[in-house]
């Protein structure tokens, strides 16, 4: 069970002396990485969530909301982000000066229950179980999430990053349930439509 003492005490020198090759390979790897990073400077693609924010604006243009979703003609169009906000200030920059369904846009960041003023609800990947938020939403809310399981949980649109491009899937059953009309242009760009 407890073997008797056997060997000399450890020493850093002792263990590292046997690894000149290790050091060589690491040196090579570490020397290559900065070189390649530097060579990459010129064309820089935009961050994923900047593009997703631009998509959200576009969705408002290709989806028709039922009039009942708005209490009156003056009430704003609510864009809501549930949980951790992955967009930072970019969402505000994208929607600044824009209208949605001919209404001014109000952005809400929400925790817990979804307020009535949400027409577009983004549920980020930080929300592990979107099912609870999705269940019991009133009609007239376009729910947008991330990754395929979101569609199965009853969401309308799910972003999917594929080959470094932002694509999306649409769940038409869920859209109908939410009384939303999705334009054929949006459907044709979607990766899959269920």
């Amino acid at each position: 069970m407890t073997p008797p003492p056997k060997s000399p005490r450890r020493s850093c020198l002792y263990s590292w002396a046997s690894a000149p090759r290790a050091a060589g390979i690491l040196l090579c790897l570490s020397a290559c990485i900065p070189a390649f990073s530097a060579s990459q400077r010129a064309p820089e693609p935009p961050p994923e969530y900047h593009v997703k924010a631009a998509f959200l604006l576009n969705f408002t243009r290709f989806v028709e909301w039922p009039p009942e979703a708005f209490p009156n003609d003056e009430s704003p169009f609510g864009v809501c982000v549930a949980g951790n906000d992955p967009f930072g200030g970019v969402l505000d920059a994208i929607f600044e000066g824009e209208t949605a369904n001919s209404r001014p846009v109000a952005i809400h960041r929400i925790k817990g229950e979804v307020p009535k003023a949400c027409h577009l609800l983004f549920i980020g990947a930080s929300e592990n179980h979107p099912g609870g938020l999705l269940a019991g939403l009133p009609p007239g809310v376009l729910t947008i999430g991330e990754e395929e399981p979101f569609i199965r949980a009853g969401g309308v649109i799910a972003f999917v990053v594929e080959k470094r491009r932002v694509r999306f899937d649409i769940n038409q059953t869920a859209a109908r349930k939410a009384a939303l009309k999705i334009s054929s242009r949006l459907l044709s760009i979607a990766r899959t439509v269920e």
Partner: protein, 677 residues
């Protein structure tokens, strides 16, 4: 040192490096990327049509790892893609990918694994869960790694938490938690068959069939392998093994808010072992090469309801039976366990509370007279409750988590384990976190009613006798951690964790005066060694992990882990071996580097390098070795992969644990054909 200058070895290294050098692209050439000019501003993005947006290439932070971004703990996630591209076929070797986890193979069947020190055959004080089912055995306070398995292809991810997961996870997670999560049955619909063979993994056949709808889906799977021995300089090739495993999982969304899971496994394994066995009657000592027979079955049911308020409630219950027929003892253990977790997110708080009960009756069968547990039948009980509150001091920026777990176990009574963690996220790219935790490692059967005698001197005869007499009290732990994570716009991240821990009342072996014994005959002299709490230790260290997507087709990652452990006897202790063991059983340095290429024409090349410094107490010198995987998708459904492991030398040593000379871990090559739909 044998590793340093042998010309054949150098050649092997050069060969291994060749693909890296060949694949180094010329500067500025970036196949597959569209020229885009400077990064567009949000205002510019608004002007693009939706069709253009869909074509735009973006930078992503390795999203699969993102949920751990704000976590105030040293978490590393081994993703499904990591697992697939490693080509690794068993759970213990997969853990080599995680920083701070020391994995050493003892022979073809056994591993010694540790997190932040305390490495050993049974990974003392590391909690291992497979879909929430704990596989920690209260017999020896550890995990029998050789029997832990599942269909590797259906693992969603492995979360490795270094350091005390004490608060939420319960006792015996002092040094870390390893959480193996398999895929939802909805994601594994379709058939999969994989067959392969090689020089060590001689033959493997795995299959899975899954079917169902988005509401109700199931899978069944089977797995069998035969594995050959590693290198034995004395020619005793005892460590071959065979195993068969059947399992299923069913996932059913009974309503929009309810999800039910039912899953189970059954396995049988024949594992070759080599053991010194002492007896009181002649011949008093023998060295045995024979097979251990290891069986297990388990069934787990889970139910999760998500409430409209965003709260969720989860109940899980499992039954686990293990039958371990080792060469010198047999134990049959049934574990019944129920757990409940309730999570209530509000605007400023996330409350989590829960509780659990575990009843684990076990029966010991004595096989040799020198190994005994008294009484033979004993039931281990564990009752626990916990409460945790994550408080958003500044929403989305500064979070403070405080929690405590109260536990009652049948060996040592009540234990309370509080913790506090702070996470500061100044922006979406940086997190700085700190944690302080108290944790305990509670006694196990070996410390409460165990007796093990080994012949030390045949001429007298003199026996050493290890005695667990129930006087052992829980091992105490106080840990402090500080960490930093940063995500880069250019698809990379770096994560640094440092720790300094105080361990007190660690297990020690205290010798008592010799005594003469006449029953059972023949007469002999016995040196009792009592299991007590006579050792203290301090551990400190750092782990750095990084990952870069340099090109859409090229990812590099790597990690460095260091550990310093200083132990000393407490004043009353006369233990002569534990301090040296603790200090010399875990390597100080570990380096892992991975380079993964996706080639045109559906090919993949993955190269792995690791360096592990010496393990003096096991007489294991430092070693460096490399693995490589070549994968080709021949058709959309058929994949061929060739995996080479430990390629830089014919064999190397990783850990002791068998009588006789160290077992060399061989260079291994394995080919595999996978058909999936």
């Amino acid at each position: 040192m044998r590793l340093s200058l042998h010309p054949a070895r150098r050649r092997a290294c050069a060969l291994w490096m060749l693909p890296i050098l060949l694949l180094m692209p010329a500067r500025g050439v970036e196949p597959g990327a569209d020229p885009q000019g400077d990064q567009p501003s949000p205002a510019a993005l608004k002007t693009l049509s939706i069709e253009q947006l869909a074509q735009l290439e973006v930078t992503t932070v390795a999203k699969e790892r993102r949920p751990a971004f704000r976590t105030p703990a040293a978490v590393f996630v081994i993703t499904r893609e990591d697992i697939r591209r490693s080509g690794i076929n068993n759970l213990p070797n997969l853990l080599r990918l995680a920083p701070g986890v020391e994995v050493a193979q003892i022979d073809s069947v056994k591993w010694a694994i540790g997190i932040r020190g305390f490495q050993g055959r049974l990974s003392r004080a590391v909690l291992v869960l497979i879909d929430g089912r704990t596989v920690y055995t209260p017999l020896f306070a550890g995990v029998y790694w050789e029997v832990q398995d599942t269909l590797i292809e259906d693992i969603e991810r492995i979360e490795v938490v270094r350091g005390p997961g004490g608060t939420v996870w319960g006792s015996n997670a002092v040094n870390g938690v390893i959480n193996i999560i398999t895929r939802n049955a909805k994601d594994t619909r379709g058939a999969l068959i994989t067959a392969g063979g090689g020089n060590v993994e001689q033959g493997t056949l795995k299959w899975r069939y899954g079917a169902g709808s988005d509401k109700l889906a199931f899978r069944v799977f089977g797995k069998g392998y035969t594995r050959g021995p590693q290198f034995h300089s004395d020619g005793r090739n005892f460590d071959d093994s065979r195993r068969g495993h059947l399992g299923f999982r069913l996932d059913w969304d009974t309503s929009e808010r309810d999800a039910v899971t039912l899953q189970g496994d059954a396995y049988g394994m024949i594992a070759g072992q080599n053991l010194n066995i002492s007896t009181f009657s002649p011949p008093a000592f023998s060295r045995l090469d024979a097979n251990a027979y290891l069986y297990g079955q388990n069934l787990l049911g889970g139910w999760r309801r998500t409430l409209r308020s965003g709260s969720s409630i989860e109940v899980r219950a499992f039954f686990d039976r293990t039958d371990r027929q080792d060469l010198n003892f047999r134990e049959v253990r049934n574990t019944y366990d129920v757990d409940l977790v309730y999570r209530i997110p509000t605007a400023r708080h996330i409350f989590t509370w829960g509780g659990g009960a575990r009843v684990s009756p076990a029966r010991f069968f004595q096989v040799v007279e020198t190994v005994n547990f008294i009484p033979h039948e004993q039931t281990y009980n564990l009752f626990s409750g916990f409460l945790e509150d994550e408080i958003a001091l500044i929403p989305d920026r500064l979070a403070f988590t405080v929690g405590a777990k109260l536990e009652h176990n049948s060996f040592s009574g009540f234990e309370i384990q509080p913790s506090g963690q702070l996470a500061w996220t100044p922006n979406e790219r940086n997190t700085i976190w700190a944690a302080i935790t108290r944790a305990v490692r509670t006694p196990s059967r070996v410390e409460d009613g165990f007796s093990f005698s080994a012949l030390a001197e045949p001429s007298i005869p003199l026996y050493l006798r290890l005695v667990g007499d129930g006087e052992f009290t829980p091992e105490q732990f106080l840990g402090t951690e500080l960490g930093y994570r940063r995500y880069f716009a250019r698809s990379g991240f770096i994560s640094v964790a440092t720790f300094y821990n105080w361990h007190d009342d660690l297990l020690s072996v205290e010798s008592r005066p010799f005594m003469a014994e006449t029953s059972p005959p023949p007469p002999r002299l016995v040196l009792p060694l009592l299991l007590r709490n006579g050792v203290q230790a301090r551990t400190g260290g750092a782990e750095v992990a990084t990952l870069w997507d340099l090109r859409p087709w090229w990812r590099v990652s790597g990690s460095y882990s260091s550990l310093l452990l200083n132990a000393r006897n407490k004043p009353f202790s006369n233990d002569a071996s534990t301090v040296r063991q603790l200090e010399g059983d875990t390597p100080i340095h570990k380096v892992v580097a991975v380079s993964s290429f996706t080639l045109p024409g559906n090919g993949e090349i993955d190269l792995f390098f690791r360096h592990v410094s010496a393990v003096p107490n096991q007489r294991v010198p430092a070693y460096s070795t490399g693995d490589a995987r070549f994968g080709w998708r021949l058709t959309p459904r058929l994949e061929l992969s060739i995996v080479g492991r430990n390629l830089l030398q014919p064999y190397h040593f990783e850990y002791g644990g068998n009588p006789g000379p160290l077992v060399g871990i061989r260079r291994a090559v394995f080919g595999r054909l996978t058909w999936s739909e």
